[in-house]
Symmetry: C2
Subunit: 436 residues, 2 copies
Amino acid sequence: MVDVVIKDGYVITMDPKRRIFERGSVAIEGDKIIAVGKDVKEKADVVIDARGKVVLPGLVNAHTHLSMTLLRGVADDMELKPWLETKIWPLEKNLTGERVYAGALLGCLEMIKSGATCFADQYFFMENVAEAVERSGIRGVLSYGIIEKGDIKKRESELKAGEKLVKTCHGIADGRILTMFGPHAPYTCSPECLSQVKELAKKYKVGIHTHIAETKWEVEEITKRYGKRPVEHLDSIRFLGPEVLAAHCVHLTREEITTIRTRGVKPVHNPVSNMKIACGVSPVPEMLKVGIPVALGTDGAASNNSLDMFKEMKFAALLNKVHKFDPTVMPAQSVLEMATINGAIALGLQDKIGSLEANKKADIILVGLKKPHLAPLHNVTSHLVYSAVGSDVNTTIADGKILMRGRRVLTLDEDKVLERAQRTSDDLITEWRAAK
Amino acid sequence: MVDVVIKDGYVITMDPKRRIFERGSVAIEGDKIIAVGKDVKEKADVVIDARGKVVLPGLVNAHTHLSMTLLRGVADDMELKPWLETKIWPLEKNLTGERVYAGALLGCLEMIKSGATCFADQYFFMENVAEAVERSGIRGVLSYGIIEKGDIKKRESELKAGEKLVKTCHGIADGRILTMFGPHAPYTCSPECLSQVKELAKKYKVGIHTHIAETKWEVEEITKRYGKRPVEHLDSIRFLGPEVLAAHCVHLTREEITTIRTRGVKPVHNPVSNMKIACGVSPVPEMLKVGIPVALGTDGAASNNSLDMFKEMKFAALLNKVHKFDPTVMPAQSVLEMATINGAIALGLQDKIGSLEANKKADIILVGLKKPHLAPLHNVTSHLVYSAVGSDVNTTIADGKILMRGRRVLTLDEDKVLERAQRTSDDLITEWRAAK
């Protein structure tokens, strides 16, 4: 007897051979997958009938700011600078741990309901985010967003906050929560700060989550300050390495792509955010072509305004096609890889998640196929990337635990999470208006 | 007593003043709206509780090829020419009226479930599409796709087929079905053909549904043949006018935009299709700026692969932002207008649909707001464009008739429609493979 068997589904493993079992099963014992394939014979306490459903690895949202769900739809269609300076930053000023917790709970709920079982986050009050992750049952790689702008005092306190998160949260919740250091960006962190982060990450054996080359402005600013483009600058201070998770990577030269590859940096593509804030188009096909395992992320809900990785996959597939006038780039299979196994690689978790294989963690989702927008059925991968949306996810399992079944979330009280997020968000806006 | 009252919803009217009633109601008598506002006192046979829901005009999918649902996911990520020549056209060769009907039923079902209550179609076996539209209860403006490539005999038979559709189907199903002439494109229809279409449309007082300037290839081809770009060419043969519904309009010069405006041509933006086939980016902000009421469409499911107008709105909002490096273009409100009132204008139905106003047809949808991805609630229009998907539609009403309530479609047997489409699509593929 095992704990759970998912039976007779269309199993997309994303394993090294990219095997697909048109009628396959997955057996789960504790937090782990113990068998995948056509001939899974195990009897189980819980049997999930997956006929008419796709069984695939839980999606990995490799870059977000989870608690920004609180600011969803509060400000859109604005230039980046006034958007940040007159809306986002003033609203964030009144954040507290409790408020960040409310936003993180909402984000966890949204991800469970749209099939992401793991995410990489960078924000503030991260211990409170950890609390939400622990309670919701998903997997999170959390980092405290370090911003010091060359201020030595600030640097000390920021590095301490980052270190505290790593010390207190790395490996908690049965290992579901991991941590990284989170220096915000090369324009908000001095070379000294980044070097210290690099040392700390080495000391604690954790990764580094940052933003690189998101906007043209950043490229100009870094060039002005250091005489080098962002990736060149970061490489010149020996910051880059395989432990660096680099969101955006929009503005890259061919040489910078080579640097990313040789240093083993892990870029995360955020197509919706890049489009909404009008940053530009990341050269993802060029990076994939030279073997860089680009991951996929939604960025925060303030600049998306959704955490739906299925929608993000469609945007990823289409954005570079039109940008390059080439419909053959970013085929569905590559995009699904970005959202699963590449996400795992980006977070250094390729031995644990990102594919359905024996001995990996049981992070699994089931997607219902019996829907008009997913009919007729010929190419399931195409449907997942081009036609499905998060709400087609029927069942979500993380670390062997069923978090949602038949669209019902089992770990969180949905109504209460929504109410709390609404109240919190209302308070933020009221206080911000009063302060104006 | 009236027939239906939709009570206490967040009513977005899209009327000329773009009024919104945060707690409003809509009364329906027969096929018509008889009252909209805060103080709707009518008692009704059917009362729909719209608390926690948005009430808005049914979306108008202003350009599609409905029965191409049969080819959803059959071929993706290919160059346009081999995609058409080795996949789409050979597969379409074995279409029959019955098969087109099966695909159209699936398309109607998908649109009902994702909030489109009216669509403009161009395809073959259109009498069979009409049958599906009649049965499903939605509204359709149908055109037979005329392709003659200068062949005089073909021209005669094609024009006859187009004329037959107009004669037999215009105004049927209580007026829910209207027709247009559908000359495919300037590169598949000779100037003589287009002139005859123009005369016929005038004779029957119907519109003309065509494709203009979709690809760079088309611009080159038309320039080679006629020494003019597509819009210039069509204007030089006096084809353009307010009755012309022009899908795509991707490649336009400033002068061509002026021509579109002065002739009153109605462009339809199809962002997903343009991205997937890698055609380019239509200058929609430029057109909206000079007062052209650009509409929105999904194009066929083979090049999308979805008929979800909510997803299409998000793509429309974001594509031009990134293309122009300007996050302020295509704000949510403009995009919602494209999907509602502009669609109505494009189809010449602005007196009947596209907004919630007394005396207009009751084409109405309700969107559930109590979802994690639509929380917290501050700006409903933002949520509709950036966060919602078709499956958030809870209730769909067309011509005063409730087609879906609580996600249950009342006019079609969902299982049977899916099965029939699968069988039909399987047959098409089997025959195509056998013929290879």
